[in-house]
Amino acid sequence: MAEGALAGFAPGPLGPRPKRPFAPKTIMLYGVLVVAALYYLMPLYVMVATSLKGMPEIRLGNIFAPPLEITFAPWVKAWDSACTGLYCEGLKVGFWNSVKILVPGVIISIAIASVSGYALSYWRFRGSEVFFTILLFGAFIPYQVLIYPIVILLRELGMFGSLPGITLVHTIFGMPILTLLFRNYFASIPVELFKAARVDGAAFWGIFLKIMVPMSLPIFVVATIIQVTGIWNDFLFGVIYAGTKNFPMTVQLNNIVNSTQGVKEYNVNMAATILTGLVPLVVYFVSGKLFVRGMAAGAVKG
C-alpha cells in the first residue's frame, strides 16, 4: 500500500523540506534576542515596580522586588502636585506646555517641508540644486553652534521665551531632515504621474493636493513620528527658548527629579518619568512598522 502511494517517485526527499525547530542557528538567534530584550526590559520593570510602591516599601532597598501593596498615589502626585522648586502643581503643567509646543510645531514644519520637498523634486527652478545642497548641509551642523545666534534672532523678533518662538525653532531644525525625507519620497513616485496630471490641467497646488498628498500618507506618518518624538523628547531647546512659563514636560520632569528639598520620592520620580515617556511610547505602539522607518530616517539627524 505504501508502495502505491509513492509510485512514480524516486526514494528519498519528497515534497517540502522538513523544518527543524531547534536548529543551532535558530537557538542562537532567539537566545540573543531574548537576552537583549530582557536587558532592555529590566529598567522598565524596575521603574514600573518602584512607581507602584509606597515609600516604606522602597526603603527596604530591594529594587527588584515586586510591590507588596500596590498604590497609585505616586502617579497621582507626579501628575498633580509634585513640586518643582516653588510651585507644586505636578507634571500636568509641563504636559500641556509640551502639547502647545508640539501641535503647531509638527503641523507647520511638516506643511512647509512637504511643499518644499515636492517643489524640489518636480518643479526644478534655477538654483534649486544649490538650495537643496545648502539644506542638506543644514542637517549636519551641530546644534550647539546655532544656539546663541538663534537666541539673538528670537530676541530681535521679540519671540524669545514665548510659544511662537520655540515653535519656530522646532520648525527650523526639523526642516533639513523633513525636506530631504519628502523630496526622496516624491522622487520615487513615477514622474509620468506628474506629467499625466499636468496634461490633465492640474497646476502646482492641484498636483500637490490632489495627486501627491493622497499618495504619500505613509511618508506623512513617518514625518509626524519623527517630529512628535523629536519635539516631545526635546530638552535643550525647551530650556533655552521656551521661557519659564512654557517649560515643556521634559524640563519639568528634570526639575521634579532634581529638586533638592525634602526626601527623594523615588516612586513619584519613576511615575513622572514614565508619564513623560508615554507619548512617544503610545506613538510607537500605534504606528508599529512605520515608527522604525521614521527612526531610520531620523537617524541621519545626529
Partner: protein
C-alpha cells in the same frame, strides 16, 4: 492641413544636445510612429509636443496654432504613458474625469463623456474600481480613455504597450488601430522601439537615431526601400542579410562578393533608376531580406545567383523556418522557408536573390542606399 508642425526643434540637457534642428510635419488624421532604439530621443520629442518639456530652439504648431509656450492642458492633446500613470487613489471614474473636472466642465457633461469613453473602450464595469484592482491591459485601456475623454484630436502615445505581455500587446495593438479608424480626423503620434508595432500601426514611420530622423516614410517604403543601412537593419524580423563586396565597373551593374561569386544587379538598377553606375568600383553592401533569399529551384526572371553553399542551421519558427546557409568564409545568409521545409542541415544548395527587392548600401560613413 498640418495637424502638428515642428520646426527646427532643439532640446539640450545641459551641454548635451538631445534633439537638434528637427523638422516634422504630421497631417490631420495621420498615424505617425516614432521608431528608434532606447535613448534616441523619442520621448523627448513627444514631451516637447505635449508641452511637458521646455524647448531650447524652434517652434511647435498644433493645428496651425503656435503652442510653443503653452501649457500642456491648453494644447489640445491627450497623452498615454508607458507606465499607465493612473492616479492610484482615484477610481477609474475619477481617473477618467480628472482632466475635464479640472477644466470646469459641468457635472452632466463630465458624466456623459465618461460614459461614452467607457463604452468605447469596454471598461464600463470597471468604473468604480481602483487602478490597483485592474490588470495591466485594463489599466492601459483606462489610460487611453483618460486621453480620449478630453475630446481632443491629437493623441500622443509613449510606448503604451511596452509593459504588457506579448499576447495582450497584440490585442491592444489591434484595438488602438481600430480606435484610430473609428475616431474622425484624429492625429496620433506613437512612440515605440518595437518595429512590428510601427509597421502594423503607422501611416508613416519616422525612424530615429540619436536625435535625428533617419527616414520618414510609409511602412512599405521603410521596409522595402530603406534609406540607409541603419534603417534596413532596424526594421524587419528576422533581420536583413548584409553581404560585403564591391560594385563591378563593367557595363552591366553587378556586385562582386569578396571571396565568392558575382551577382547580377540589372533588376535592382532597373528598379532604382540606374544610380549605381556612378558608384562603380566602390565598396558596398548587398542587403537581402530572408524572404528574398531563394534556396534551390530553377533560375528564373528577377532571380540572380548569389552563390552555392551548405545549410548550417535550421531555426523552426512555427509557420516559417529560418534556414542559414554558409556561402564561404564568414559569409552566412538566412532564408525564410516553409515551416515544414524539406531542407536538411548539411545539404548543398544554390542561393539566389530576388534582386528587384534587394538594397545596396555604400560602405562609407553614411551607408546610404545607392
Amino acid at each position: 492641413m498640418a495637424s502638428i508642425s515642428i520646426r527646427k526643434l532643439g532640446v539640450n540637457y545641459g551641454p548635451v544636445k538631445v534633439l537638434e534642428d528637427l523638422d516634422l510635419e504630421v497631417e490631420t488624421g495621420e498615424f505617425i510612429v516614432l521608431l528608434g532604439p532606447s535613448g534616441c530621443g523619442k520621448s523627448t520629442l513627444l514631451n516637447c509636443i505635449a508641452g511637458l518639456l521646455d524647448i531650447n530652439a524652434g517652434q511647435i504648431l498644433i493645428k496651425d496654432r503656435n503652442v510653443t509656450w503653452l501649457e500642456p492642458k491648453d494644447r489640445g492633446i491627450g497623452m498615454v504613458f508607458q507606465s499607465y500613470a493612473l492616479y492610484p487613489q482615484m477610481t477609474v471614474r475619477g481617473n477618467l474625469s480628472f482632466g475635464i473636472r479640472n477644466a470646469g466642465l459641468p457635472k452632466e457633461e463630465v458624466d456623459r463623456r465618461v460614459a461614452r469613453t467607457a463604452k468605447l473602450l469596454h471598461i464600463e464595469e470597471l468604473l468604480e474600481r481602483k487602478p490597483a484592482a485592474l490588470s495591466g491591459g485594463q489599466r492601459q485601456r483606462v489610460a487611453i480613455g483618460r486621453a480620449l475623454v478630453r475630446d481632443v484630436d491629437v493623441f500622443l502615445f509613449d510606448e503604451p504597450l511596452s509593459n504588457l505581455d506579448a499576447k495582450l500587446r497584440a490585442e491592444l495593438r489591434v484595438e488602438i488601430k481600430r480606435l484610430h479608424d473609428k475616431l474622425e480626423s484624429n492625429t496620433m503620434v506613437y512612440v515605440t522601439h518595437d518595429q512590428i508595432e510601427a509597421l502594423t500601426l503607422a501611416d508613416r514611420i519616422a525612424v530615429m537615431r540619436s536625435g535625428l530622423i533617419q527616414q520618414l516614410a510609409d511602412p512599405h517604403t521603410i521596409y522595402h526601400r530603406p534609406k540607409n543601412l541603419y534603417v534596413a537593419s532596424f526594421i524587419g524580423s528576422p533581420g536583413m542579410n548584409f553581404i560585403k563586396g564591391r560594385l563591378g565597373d563593367g557595363a552591366v551593374p553587378s556586385f562582386m562578393i569578396a571571396g565568392a561569386g558575382t551577382v547580377d544587379l540589372k533588376a535592382y538598377s532597373a528598379e532604382e533608376g540606374g544610380g549605381l553606375a556612378s558608384h562603380a568600383g566602390e565598396e558596398a553592401l548587398l542587403g537581402l531580406r530572408p524572404e528574398h533569399v531563394i534556396l534551390g529551384g530553377e533560375p528564373a526572371d528577377g532571380l540572380a545567383e548569389v552563390g552555392k553553399g551548405v545549410i548550417d542551421i535550421i531555426e523552426p519558427m512555427g509557420s516559417d523556418s529560418l534556414v542559414w546557409v554558409n556561402l564561404g568564409d564568414e559569409i552566412s545568409v538566412s532564408s525564410r522557408q516553409e515551416g515544414d521545409t524539406s531542407l536538411r542541415k548539411g545539404q548543398e544548395v544554390t542561393v539566389r536573390g530576388n534582386i528587384a527587392n534587394a538594397s545596396v548600401f555604400g560602405d562609407d560613413e553614411s551607408q546610404r542606399r545607392l
